[in-house]
């Protein structure tokens, strides 16, 4: 029965092809607007995520000391320190690829090249865990043997002459021979120079590590003991923070939560990403609303056409009723017709959106590229394959469903009116 009514409705639509095209075009424009505007937010989001940093930073969690989650065991909330036990506990969590403990040098330390010095952060990491920092070398090799160091990209540019009136940074080739490391000993009350080999300079864009000098963990422990004159019990060792690498971007959040449940503090881009996501959700709602206005206009078009169709086909409605159609049959016929108008407009609109997607993304690729892609964008599009407009399959499905709903919604009132027409009144209409 439904199938028969469906066939009849299709036939009705096809015989008024011109009107179908006109009305569906309204839905087409609305659907295209909604899809493109939303696709723009998806594209921007992907570009923004790519811009925050390498995919590496999305699986990165920083862990800070925290408080014991079980205060009933002791009256004072116990401070949870970042010791080797913490490293072991976090390493044992599901979804953790590696835990990199970072320990900084506790005394005044600098790199020395002639009279020029570099004062910055000197951090020790276990050489075997260093690859999990997510860093790459731009020059040299990624190696952290005893007496070796890896330096951030900007380290070489910030050497200064400590005796000069003003500290003018000078450029130093850190990979050159003869570089020393000068460390202050509080026991002896003076600095002492150590030999050091810089094995590699890291790529820029390593975030907070651009000014860091990485040393092997054991070297940092030795320096700390030497400068303070105390041997430290390994159990007393406290790391500055731990860098936890999750196995995948999807597990990052769960790992973060598990770590917080243990009582430690966490941070990282993964967390920032949640904020970014909520920003883009707001943006989507706003732009979707703007596109929605076009769809509402289209809905009025569909409603108007259906009203006209009913006026025009009043006699036909009367005839169908004389031939035994029930009110709900007439209702269904008109609902199916308006739904099909919505569907065809939606599908055509989606097609138009895909065509425009290709055209826009293609034009961006063809544009003269500056340092960071087309100049008017605040980020580098080339990182996301020059795709500013991204239509995910869910968006496509959503848009078509929306168009169908628009058709149904707009056709509802006219269809009810048609169904309620008394047969004689409809038949007598001239």
């Amino acid at each position: 029965m439904l199938l028969e009514l469906f066939r009849l409705a299709v036939g009705n639509l096809l015989r008024a092809r011109g009107r179908l095209v006109m009305t569906a075009s309204g839905v087409l424009v609305g659907t295209t607007a909604v899809v493109l505007l939303l696709a723009l937010t998806f594209g921007l989001q992907e570009a923004a995520e790519a811009g925050i940093g390498s995919a590496a930073s999305l699986t990165e969690i920083q862990v800070y000391p925290g408080f014991s989650p079980r205060p009933e065991e002791s009256r004072e909330p116990a401070m949870l320190q970042l010791d080797d036990e913490a490293v072991a506990r976090i390493t044992a969590l599901d979804g953790v690829a590696a835990v990199v403990p970072l320990l900084s040098v506790q005394t005044q330390i600098s790199l020395a090249s002639g009279k020029y010095r570099y004062y910055g952060q000197f951090v020790g990491v276990p050489p075997e865990a260093a690859p999990y920092l997510g860093l790459r070398v731009a020059r040299g090799t990624f190696s952290l043997g005893p007496g070796e160091a890896l330096v951030g990209a900007s380290v070489g540019s910030f050497f200064v002459d400590p005796d000069a009136q003003t500290w003018e940074p000078v450029e130093v080739d850190v990979l050159a021979e003869g570089l020393k490391m000068r460390v202050y000993s509080s026991v002896e009350g003076r600095e002492q120079a150590f030999d050091i080999t810089i094995s590699g300079v890291l790529r820029p864009g390593s975030g907070s590590f651009d000014g860091t000098v990485f040393l092997p963990l054991e070297d940092v422990i030795a320096l700390n003991e030497w400068s303070s004159g105390n041997r430290l019990d390994p159990e007393e060792r406290r790391y500055d923070y731990l860098l936890v690498r999750a196995t995948s971007r999807e597990t990052t959040r769960a790992v973060s939560e598990a770590i917080r449940e243990l009582g430690y503090g966490t941070g990282g881009v993964g967390e920032f990403l949640d904020q970014l996501n909520s920003f883009f959700t707001t943006m989507r709602l706003m732009l979707g609303g703007i596109g929605g206005v076009a769809l509402v206009v289209a809905a009025f078009g569909v409603a108007n056409t259906m009203m006209m169709a009913i006026l025009e086909r009043t006699r036909e409605i009367g005839l169908m009723k004389a031939l035994g159609a029930r009110d709900r049959d007439v209702l269904l016929i008109f609902l199916i017709e308006s739904m099909l108008v919505g569907l065809s407009g939606g599908l055509a609109g989606l097609g138009a959106a895909y065509a425009l997607q290709n055209a826009i993304n293609g034009a961006l690729t063809a544009m003269p590229q500056g340092q960071g892609g087309p100049g008017f964008l605040p980020f580098d599009l080339s990182q996301v394959g020059n795709r500013l407009i991204v239509i995910p399959p869910e968006l496509a499905l959503f848009a078509v469903l929306l168009a169908v709903l628009v058709g149904l919604g707009a056709g509802a009132l006219p269809a009810v009116r048609a169904a309620r027409l008394p047969p004689v009144v409809a038949l007598q209409q001239e």
């Binding site: 028969e4 029930r326 004689v424």
Partner: protein, 243 residues
């Protein structure tokens, strides 16, 4: 002949039927206390001046409109008791309508027009087309099955409409001036066809007409004037209209 007719069951029975239209405040009585009986297989002509209520009466009997008073029984059903859905089913199963201006759907082929009632009966397409084809053959129109109504003559169009009225094999055919839009020769052919449906197919036929020649095909004439039934050759109802 009289005994034979008396043996047939009564298929339409009206008692004190009234229909008053309301145009705002103004009441327009179109049918006034009409009582009548029609037996199965009768061929009844309905005559009367314009505005006398002929079409209105036909609509009431066919369940296209509801009376404002009295009772109408058709084929065992009291129409005033039927819901709108039941009335639709009644029209589908019991009544075939034929109109003066045919009311064919212009964009559909003759075959599809004939098959249209089958859509609302929920008949699958094959069955619909098969039956429509048989009816077109009975009307001598198989060679016009693919034609649109606009490509057919008036007489052919009316025969398509009659085939459509017969689609669900209803016992009653109600025709409102079926020859009104046709020349007299074609009109006679259409009346001959209706007569044939009455005699050979056993249909009960009610035909509204202005034309006395056309009315000559009928067994019995009901005369309406100003909404009153003023003449009825059937002896059963004559008493009531006198009363």
């Amino acid at each position: 002949m009289a005994e034979q007719e008396a043996a047939r069951p009564i298929i339409i029975a009206c008692r004190n039927v009234q229909k008053t239209f309301y145009l705002g405040e103004r009441a327009v009585p179109a049918i006034k206390r009409v009582s009548l009986m029609i037996r199965a297989g009768e061929f009844v002509g309905i005559m009367g001046p314009s505005g006398s209520g002929k079409s209105t009466l036909l609509h009431l009997l066919g369940g296209l409109d509801r009376a404002t008073g009295g009772t109408i029984r058709v084929a065992g059903r009291r129409l005033e008791d039927l819901s709108s859905d039941e009335l639709a089913r009644f029209r589908r199963e019991t009544i075939g309508f034929v109109f003066q201006t045919f009311y064919l759907v212009p964009s559909m082929s003759a075959l599809d027009n004939v098959a249209l009632p089958g859509v609302f009966a929920g008949l699958p397409r094959d069955a619909r087309e098969e039956r429509a084809w048989r009816l077109l053959r009975a009307m001598g129109l198989t060679h016009r099955a693919d034609h649109r109504p606009g490509q057919l003559s008036g007489g052919q169009q009316q025969r398509v409409a009659i085939a459509r009225a017969l689609f669900n094999d209803p016992p009653i055919v109600l025709a409102d001036e079926p020859t009104g839009a046709l020349d007299s020769r074609t009109g006679r052919r259409v009346m001959g066809l209706l007569r044939h449906l009455c005699d050979r197919w056993g249909k009960t036929i009610l035909v509204v007409t202005h034309d006395p020649v056309v009315a000559g095909h009928a067994d019995r004439i009901l005369s309406l004037q100003d909404g009153y039934l003023i003449g009825d050759h059937a002896p059963e109802t004559a008493e009531e209209s006198d009363a």
